[in-house]
């Protein structure tokens, strides 16, 4: 198993992180992890952004009670570490008779956390649309809802693409937290393989999988940013 130090540090490095036989052996498991991570990530991004947008739009109606509830929940979710909420739901709820799968808990918590941050970002975007935009739209006979949907929200989205992309990527990476509640995502598969093999190679495979997964997301995010930049009139 162990290589003599005199075999050279390079060989040692390869032996530690890139053992071909282990790569072969665990490629399937890590591949499964990639699929699970992708599934959760896609669901979280879609549901989180949609929910965040919905909450921000609800706030635009300035119904006091509703706004207070939204702000309260959002602040709560933004101040708690996601891991705490995940553990609380996964291990706490069964004691009141509600058992949820790890996959579901991970999806739910990350969606709520992303929605909370997205709501704040969207809301700031809605507020930053100038009053004249509302007035021009209203003066042509558009109602409040139409004004919000066709004039204000599209501008709010464009103005918030950069912070939203960053926040989305940061929260999606938290899918790795699923490992503590037995969700078979990348990190879980990799660390299981690591403990069986005693080698860091599966962890390196996991790291590379994350890079392959998220680099394109970062690039797409950057592309969206430049795509949506337009000179303010």
């Amino acid at each position: 198993m162990s290589t003599a130090p005199e075999a050279g540090t390079w060989a040692h490095f390869i032996e530690t992180f890139f053992r071909p036989d282990l790569i072969d052996q665990y490629a399937g498991a890590i591949g499964k992890g990639v699929i699970v991570t992708c599934e959760i990530a896609v669901l979280v991004v879609i549901c989180g952004l949609a929910l965040g947008m919905l909450l921000a739009i609800v706030r635009a109606y300035r119904i006091r009670a509703l706004s207070l509830i939204i702000v309260g929940l959002v602040d709560l979710l933004r101040s708690l570490p996601p891991l705490v909420i995940i553990l609380l739901l996964y291990f706490g709820l069964p004691t009141v008779g509600l058992t949820l799968s790890g996959f579901f808990v991970l999806w739910l918590v990350l969606t709520l956390v992303l929605a909370a941050f997205a709501e704040e970002i969207f809301w700031a975007g809605i507020l930053s649309v100038r009053k004249g935009q509302w007035e021009a739209a209203r003066s042509t006979g558009l109602g409040f809802n139409q004004c919000l949907i066709y004039v204000v929200v599209p501008q709010a989205i464009r103005m918030t693409v950069a912070p939203l992309t960053n926040r989305t990527i940061a929260i999606t990476k938290n899918t790795a937290l699923g490992t503590v509640i037995g969700v078979g995502e990348i990190l879980n598969e990799a660390s299981t393989a690591q403990s069986f093999s005693g080698s860091a190679t599966p962890l390196m495979m996991g790291a590379i999988a994350y890079i392959l997964l998220f680099i394109p997301v970062v690039i797409v995010g950057r592309w969206i940013e430049t795509r949506f930049q337009w000179r303010r009139a």
């Binding site: 100038r130 004249g132 935009q133 007035e135 021009a136 739209a137 209203r138 003066s139 042509t140 006979g141 558009l142 109602g143 139409q146 066709y150 004039v151 599209p154 501008q155 464009r158 337009w230 000179r231 303010r232 009139a233």
Partner: protein, 244 residues
């Protein structure tokens, strides 16, 4: 002459500040009325009360025989008959010039996209911007943006156009293009209320000039009278200040 827009006892308070103090205003069909007055005298507030962008505290506004203060009136349908042009243009920056014009056509009047596009292109032609339909506001000069804004209002076939300092935000060399469009509108018989400091335009095009101060109409009359022989001391003072 028939009154198309008539405000009676228009009052607007912001907190305990009264921006309008019982304004009576009558606009006849086909008229161009010019509104002048010092900053803060309530010119914009009056215009914005006409289409209820600003909710009057008291008083009445009759437009085309309809009481706009009546709760059962569909204000959105009335607003499109009262075109408004703003100092800051307020074009939608995320939409092309064409879509700036078509939005209300489609969403308020329910026209199909094809029909709305046709109208938009005709309107942009009319303000001399037929070739800019695909441009976003950010790619247009101030004068061009303001003309798109005029086209946006015109497309809804308003019976009255309200202009709130349409050229004040423009570089001097761009003012002419906007005034020219307004002059054309005038010649086509559009009824207009214009708040502006363009006194040359007022002399050339206005039927009537109104002088406002401290939320009241102090004096009104023909351009010759208001510019040549104002009765009120405040009016004379104002004319001197702006160098007339």
């Amino acid at each position: 002459m028939a009154a198309i827009l008539e405000a009676r006892g228009l009052w607007k308070s912001f907190g305990d500040f009264d921006a309008l103090k019982g304004v009576d205003f009558t606009l006849n069909a086909g008229e161009l009325v010019f509104v002048i007055g010092p900053s803060g005298s309530g010119k914009s507030t009056m215009l914005r009360c006409f289409n209820r962008l600003e909710e009057p505290t008291d008083g009445s506004v009759m437009f085309e025989g309809v009481d706009l203060m009546n709760r059962s009136v569909d204000i959105n349908l009335m607003r499109r008959r009262l075109g408004m042009v703003f100092q800051q243009f307020n074009l939608y920056p995320h939409l092309t010039a064409r879509d700036n014009v078509t939005l209300a056509l489609r969403k308020v009047l329910g026209k199909s996209r094809a029909e709305a596009n046709e109208i938009a292109e005709a309107m942009l032609d009319r303000v001399g911007l037929g070739d800019k339909a695909d441009s976003h506001p950010g790619a247009l000069s101030g004068g061009q943006q303001q003309r798109v804004a005029i086209a946006r209002a015109l497309a809804l076939e308003p019976s009255v156009m309200l202009f709130d300092e349409p050229t004040s935000a423009l570089d001097p060399e761009l003012v002419g293009s906007v005034l020219q469009v307004m002059q054309q509108l005038r010649e086509a018989g559009m009824t207009m209320v214009v708040v502006s400091h363009e006194m040359r335009f007022a002399r050339a095009a206005a039927d009537r000039v109104i002088f406002m101060a401290d939320g009241e109409i102090l004096e009104e009359g023909t351009p010759d009278k208001i510019f040549g022989a104002p009765e009120h001391a405040r009016t004379r003072e104002f004319m001197q200040e702006i160098g007339q």
